[in-house]
């Protein structure tokens, strides 16, 4: 049996999903969109699968998340909907419930956060609520696993008995007449498709285009629907959408006045207001946000992350050495030896050393998200990102991009709109990641020793500026059309649950490991192959003879207009694709292997202006293989990943060209 878990955002849906399934989860995408589809087996019920639907507030046809949910419910016809609602915010939560009930699919309402309701001194009369709504209501506390067993038991019973919601009538007067008239009119069409006529009718009254198309009404029938709607609008002196929203909220207000006994004010709410008087304070909000980000960066890329990385690298080195000596002792073919040690171990090892950083970063991110602080960041920072067509929500992934593009791209998952998510992913690589620092350090020390900080800052700012320009271009090309409205709930602050935080960290670590051993593995082997063999597939003794160097030489002229056509520079750029740090090590290897020879060679290869042009190109050109694979995963498209590579190389070339030629006029 299939169970669909649906509900608003911030009502504990993920927590309940984790409680229902334990660790037994699969993550995928809904067809055609990059909206997460998590599935899992319900604990203790092998034949029961629960699908976690996106967090939504309504079944309107506007956002991808809403459309995905509708399509799933209409096409897949789950055996039961588990509708999770936040009992402390019951009025708004039931708005979605009423729409779900109209679908005529067996349903249970899970009334979450009952502990808070009790603490506030309030009561919700469960029996009356069930009676009035006509569906079973199970009170629970998902974070403490209270009531989850009862929920499973009742949901299975409801699904097995095909017990549909008893009530679908939330209307009176003119709306009632319109819904019933239209439901009757289109009954045949709806039933043929297996859709509840009630649901179809209310959607038609709301002017829902996907529903009109789905039902394939004749012109005559459409006219009659519109006639009914116009009559309703005239009688109510309001329009179709407002009329139905009003109908639902009026019904809910009636239900709440009978079932909810409010004695005290919500403690969590009062606490949130107090916290917000500091965190979203007019003067303090931005400094505090910067502080939190700095602290997170320091801990991730400095203290904790660095320590973990060191330990982890030692482990990898240990294993590498062990395998190395074992292979030597065995006397294996030197090429195979090189493949295993220099190719696989070195390549995957260097990528795996990202892992502690990613896990640490997601530890902090999931805490910021689960506590409710991320929504505040969006509130505080919205104005800055609006000009490029994004909302404040995209701010955090962008900032993480300065550390590492990989977790930044992965973090875009928390953005609630698919459009914003895609656009953020495309812009993140312009935020100069920390792996490029060694390159900047090498070049600034060699060429701009007196202006090191200035050149570094100039590079970072250039990345941001190019990002803004691209954002403006995207807004008017790829992502034309209306952005998703910025109408966002600021949920009460809550203590994050260790289980959710742990699960998220594990998910991200697993996700990254899988990629490290598949696509990144492949990329490192290709680079190794190109570095090890020459054009006749002989093992090279001088790296200048390798296939990679040959490719470097072949493409070097492409960089002529940018001021550097040295094959060693172009070869280093190619290896930068596996990891940005490799640019420095390749340059070192190709110029003789010592710091002094590298410095001399750099001065032979570049003038300061050419060096700056090279840095500009390095700043903007294709992200590393790990980041590209993250793009592919999050955008769910190979084309997108290829597109990012091509697009960024083009942008980098253009920017370096402009820098070199305008610089040439000035200096």
């Amino acid at each position: 049996m299939i169970f669909a878990l649906g509900g608003n955002q911030n009502c504990g849906k993920t927590t309940l999903f984790n409680q229902l399934t334990g660790s037994n989860q699969r993550v995928g995408n809904f067809p055609g969109v990059t909206v997460d589809k998590k599935e899992g087996e319900i604990r203790g019920h092998k034949d029961c699968t629960v699908v976690d639907l996106p967090g939504i507030y309504s079944l309107s046809p506007y956002t991808n998340e809403e459309i995905v949910t509708r399509d799933f419910l209409i096409n897949e016809k789950p055996d039961c909907i588990i509708n999770i609602t936040d009992a402390t915010n019951i009025e708004r939560n039931l708005y979605l419930s009423l729409q779900l009930m109209e679908l005529g699919i067996p349903m249970v309402i899970a009334l979450n956060m009952m502990d808070e309701v009790r603490e506030n001194g309030n009561t919700i009369k469960i029996n009356e609520l069930q009676e009035l709504l006509g569906v079973p209501v199970v009170p629970l506390v998902a974070s403490k696993n209270e009531g989850v067993d009862e929920l499973i038991e009742i949901a299975v019973k409801v699904a097995a008995g095909r017990i549909k919601p008893m009530r679908q009538d939330f209307c009176s007067g003119a709306v009632h007449r319109a819904i019933h008239g239209i439901a009757h009119l289109i009954e045949d069409h709806a039933e043929k498709l297996g859709i509840s006529p009630r649901f179809a009718a209310t959607k038609l009254i709301e002017g829902d285009e996907p529903m009109q198309k789905l039902l394939r009404l004749t012109d005559n029938e459409l006219d009659m629907v519109e006639h009914n709607v116009t009559e309703m609008e005239e009688q109510l002196d309001t329009d179709r959408e407002a009329a139905l929203a009003d109908m639902r909220y009026t019904f809910i207000e009636g239900v709440c006045s009978k079932c909810v006994i409010k004695k005290g004010e919500s403690i969590a709410h009062r606490r949130s207001l107090k916290i917000d008087s500091v965190l979203t304070n007019k003067y303090l909000a931005i400094p505090i946000f910067i502080l939190i980000m700095l602290l997170m960066f320091y801990l991730t890329f400095g203290a904790i992350g660095a320590a973990l990385s060191t330990v982890f690298s030692m482990l990898i080195d240990g294993v590498t050495n062990l395998v190395d000596s074992a292979l030597t002792a065995y006397g294996i073919n030197p090429v195979v030896h090189s493949l295993i040690i220099d190719g696989i171990f070195a390549g995957v090892g260097s990528v795996l050393s990202f892992l502690p950083t990613i896990v640490t970063l997601f530890f902090f991110l999931s805490i910021l998200e689960d506590t409710g602080y991320m929504a505040r960041v969006a509130f505080v920072m919205d104005k800055l990102l609006r000009k490029i067509g994004l909302s404040g929500r995209s701010f955090v992934p962008m900032i993480i991009g300065f550390g590492c593009s990989v977790p930044a791209i992965m973090a875009s998952r928390t953005l609630s709109s698919e459009r914003d998510r895609k656009m953020t992913i495309l812009l993140v690589p312009f935020m100069s990641c920390s792996a490029k620092l060694p390159i900047y350090a090498l070049f600034t020390a060699a060429f701009f020793a007196n202006h090191k900080p200035l050149v570094m800052i100039a590079l970072y700012i250039m990345g941001i500026l190019v990002g803004i320009i691209c954002g403006l271009i995207f807004k008017n090309t790829l992502f034309r059309g209306n952005p998703v409205p910025f109408v966002m709930e600021l949920p009460n602050y809550r203590f994050p649950s260790a289980k959710s935080v742990g699960m998220l960290m594990w998910d991200k670590a697993k996700d990254f490991m899988v990629r490290a051993f598949t696509i990144i593995f492949l990329a490192t082997i290709i680079i190794w192959f190109l570095q090890t063999f020459d054009t006749r597939i002989n093992v090279v003794t001088d790296s200048a003879d390798s296939l990679l160097a040959a490719i470097g030489k072949a493409i070097a002229p492409v960089f002529e207009p940018l001021g550097f056509n040295d094959w060693r520079a172009s070869t280093a750029l190619i290896t930068g694709f596996s990891a940005k740090e490799a640019v420095v090590s390749t340059l070192a290897v190709l110029t003789g292997g010592s710091d002094a020879s590298l410095n001399t060679a750099l001065h032979q290869m570049f003038t300061p202006l050419q060096a700056f042009s090279f840095l500009t190109f390095t700043l903007l050109y294709t992200p590393c293989a790990a980041a590209i694979s993250a793009v592919m995963r999050e955008m769910n498209s190979r084309m997108a990943a290829v597109g990012v590579v091509v697009f960024q190389i083009a942008v980098a070339w253009l920017a370096a060209f402009v820098v070199y030629n305008i610089g040439g006029l000035i200096f």
Binding site: S60, E241, A242, A245, T280, A285, A378, V380, D382, K383
Partner: protein
């Protein structure tokens, strides 16, 4: 009068939500229906967006979108 002109911390009631499409529907869905009591709780540090209090919870919308919401003071 529209919501963007309202003073901070003063309760008022919604008369109508104008505009069209996704934004309007979203506002209605989030509970900004006629006769609902609403109050502006806060303005973001950079002057926009604003934080509203309605139906027992907090919602943030942009000033530009608040222009679509007609209100009457209680």
């Amino acid at each position: 009068m529209t919501l963007n002109e309202q003073k901070l911390g003063v309760k008022c009631r919604i008369k109508a939500v104008n505009g069209k499409g996704a934004l309007r529907r979203r506002l209605l869905d989030m509970g900004l229906t006629p006769k609902t009591e609403v109050m502006i709780r806060k303005v973001a540090p950079m002057g926009d967006p604003i934080e509203l209090h309605l139906r027992g919870y907090e919602l943030t919308i942009r000033l530009e979108d608040a222009k679509n919401i007609e209100i009457a003071e209680d």
